[in-house]
Symmetry: C2
């Protein structure tokens, strides 16, 4: 794991805990559990609060424009809060019962608890950014709202794709850009904005974040079908179980031959048992969906790395950004 | 109906529609339906988007400190967006199927649609306030976040009271201050902040908003048991059906005699049919719960009006604030 992820976690973790301590007790418990700071009864744990890719990106992008990482800390905290707001609500909507090897918040505390904790984190993100206001923080806050709006639109699109047969790879990529790309682009932009970096660097780093997000989501979609539950912390073939029109599935369905018709029938028929899931996964692979998603991940990694050439950036941070991008894509292959 | 509510609706309505037009189509449809701008298929309607008490309060509080109401328009829009975010999510949590004489958003579009539309409105509220930033707008935005945090805490408390037997009037009033008072206090404060009114006026108007909120909620609680469905747009005795520990119920349970035990048994037993609901309502009244809630509404109305004496305010706006407060309380008796 790149060192920057460890640094981001140790910088952002205590700050997030401090912000969570402002929440009313029942909301705070759900948020602390979800973020890995507490067990279901509220006892402190040193658990797994996620990879901290978004905070790492914000901190590195401040360094890339020549500032100290600490400049971007409120932004790193805010993007991580927004990310976790979306996880809390997405798990309710997708009825996912497992995340990071534990029960999801709604499965443990009920839907209302998870909805309210998500609401509270979104609200807290703005407080974290604006509590000590400055022109850069206000601009960062607007960038965060724009990214959040796109993320919500992407999740709405993802939900509606589940019931839609006309999915194409193109539509899927558009959804991924909104759902995942926008917040990673926002994290990068916010880091550079708080560092008061030049406009050209901000735009380059936002492009880096967007393509990193697309690569990240392509890998996530691969893991959602072929990932090892022991590593992902989620059930096997979870995306097929939930009939998600993820990238490999969209690519397979786009082939439009007898195989695609068979896959469509499997995904629209009665709930799939383990052998049905295995058959659907084989079909997606046979129809080229796995290969296509790998290609997208590699292509986006390439675009991501070349975005760094668009502006002069500090060498050390640039090297760490490259390492972070490689790590994100190599989770799978 | 006080003229200021009509003025607020005609000032804020088109602005909110303009902000909603930024949302992605599936999210926008749910938000427009919920706010009464569209029917379920998205055709424009000139429907009922609510009373606009919060925007009216923001606009009047700007006028009360000597500014033009237009100064507070972005704040009026933002508080109405936050209020509607909370309605969308609360209806999901409370499983309410009817609001403003129509199906609620989740009942029509599903839970995911309502959750996402609520998320989008909360996010939009910050954009509406900060899009053209100024120190006053940043301060208003922080005031809005604080109010939103209290509102979320209040809703969490309300949800947990449903399953809690140890409710008291005191605890209920604290919950009402968070759930309803905070956003009305926030609306008043934001109006005066955007008008750059003096600190003393801001504090007086916030107190006015807080006590107005408590009076408002006390009346809402009365309507939640004894309101006429034709007038409220909600089912008869809805709060008893949902076993809400609303103010009249809390006051009745606090009597702790045989009547309270009987009421408790009714509210914790199997789901109540119409005659059970009527019996529970009679019990609450017999135990003094209805009278107590009316007293709270009148007391809070008094506190609300006397808060206006705390600072010099423009006479016309002060008169309209008084009229608004009377209207809020006289909805019931």
């Amino acid at each position: 794991m790149p060192d920057v992820l460890r640094r981001a976690r140790s910088a952002v973790g205590p700050e997030i805990e401090r912000w969570l301590s402002r929440l009313a007790p029942p909301v705070r418990l759900v948020a602390e559990y979800h973020l890995g700071f507490a067990d279901p009864s509220g006892r402190p744990t040193s658990g797994n609060g996620g990879k901290a890719v978004r905070p790492a990106l914000a901190l590195l992008c401040a360094e890339a424009t020549g500032a100290d990482a600490a400049t971007a800390l409120p932004g790193a905290v805010a993007v991580e809060l927004v990310h976790n707001f979306s996880l809390l609500h997405d798990d309710v909507m997708d009825r996912d019962r497992e995340r990071r090897h534990r029960l999801t918040a709604w499965a443990l505390f009920g839907e209302s608890g998870a909805i309210l904790a998500g609401d509270a984190l979104l609200n807290l993100a703005h407080q974290a950014l604006l509590e000590v206001p400055s022109p850069a923080r206000v601009e960062a806050s607007l960038t965060l709202s724009d990214a959040t709006a796109r993320m919500i639109a992407g999740q709405a699109d993802d939900v509606s794709l589940e019931a839609d047969d006309a999915v194409t790879v193109e539509r899927c990529l558009r959804m991924m850009a909104d759902k995942t790309g926008a917040l990673l682009a926002g994290a990068a932009g916010i880091g550079a904005i708080l560092a008061e970096g030049p406009e050209r660097s901000i735009r380059s780093l936002e492009r880096f974040g967007m393509h990193l997000g697309l690569a990240f989501q392509a890998v996530d979609d691969l893991l959602g079908i072929w990932g090892d539950p022991a590593a992902t912390g989620k059930p096997a073939a979870g995306d097929l179980r939930e009939r998600k029109k993820s990238l490999p599935v969209a690519a397979a369905l786009e082939t439009a031959g007898p195989g695609a018709r068979k896959l469509r029938a499997l995904l629209t028929g009665p709930e799939l048992a383990d052998d049905g899931l295995a058959e659907a996964a084989r079909l997606v692979e046979h129809l080229g969906g796995r290969e296509r998603a790998r290609d997208v991940a590699q292509d986006e990694l390439g675009r991501c790395l070349s975005a760094l050439g668009g502006a002069p950036l500090a060498d050390a941070a640039r090297g760490e950004l490259e390492e972070l991008a490689q790590f994100v894509v190599e989770r799978e292959f």
